[in-house]
Symmetry: C2
Subunit: 155 residues, 2 copies
């Protein structure tokens, strides 16, 4: 069964593919800023961010592949079970990445404010960039989940 015109942004459309690719890019950027030559494992919040971004990247990559596949084959997947799984997964990951971004931002602000901890400006700048890209990744992930949620009553 196929819907006549899929709403832009729902699974299987090019808008969804763009959103997913954006998520992957921002989540990877956040992970790299945080983990490349930085002792992130000293701080609980930073470890949490790394774990969550490590979950977001494979999830969004898989769904980007599904989108690309359905654009090429002109087939839009609309199985209710699959859609529910995608929607719930999106929501959970969206909340988790918001939580990770916020706690990173809070800790970075504290590190910058206090100054008596060993946080050179260059390092703190990277923490800030990591938090900012995590927020962008959250925002795109939230947009995806909203679009897909809109589809739920029509299943």
């Amino acid at each position: 069964m196929e819907a006549a015109v899929p709403l832009p942004g729902t699974i299987g459309t090019s808008a969804s593919l763009a959103l997913r690719l954006g998520q992957v890019v921002f989540a990877s950027a956040s992970l790299l800023f945080m983990s490349f030559r930085v002792e992130f494992f000293g701080y609980t919040s930073f470890c949490y961010l790394v774990v969550i971004m490590g979950l977001v990247i494979p999830w969004s990559t898989t769904l980007a592949l599904v989108d690309a596949y359905s654009i090429v084959l002109k087939y839009v997947p609309r199985q209710p079970k699959l859609m529910c799984f995608v929607i719930v997964g999106d929501w959970v990951l969206s909340f988790l990445s918001l939580a990770a971004a916020c706690s990173t931002a809070g800790v970075t602000a504290l590190l910058l404010d206090v100054g008596q901890l060993n946080c050179p400006v260059k390092l703190c700048r990277r923490y800030q960039l990591s938090a900012a890209t995590a927020f962008l990744s959250w925002f795109l992930s939230f947009a995806s989940s909203l679009f897909n949620l809109w589809l739920l009553p029509s299943l």
Copy 2:
């Protein structure tokens, strides 16, 4: 126009009243733990938590009054504009309070870990309690917004 049987948890039901009262209680507890004889204004995250909890309390109190009013008068408000306003407000406040709870939790964990900052155990315990009650308040607020969102397609 009245719906035949309102879904439990949507606006105007006793389940919704209970959720709203829970939000008010937990948000007030979080605010008190944070602001009563504590220098919270030294930390950005803690100021943010206080601001958000100061928004959640009047919002949930107002909606609790609406619920109580509609339980007593046996009238369920179902104006689409009002419902949209309530749903959007709930979502926004739910995200903001999750963000506040997470950044507070992150900063508290850091303060406890590092130890070289002036954070006596008794004070840090209160920060933790404040973060925990903020999480509970977020959870109830999220439940409210989910129940009300469920109502949206039937408007």
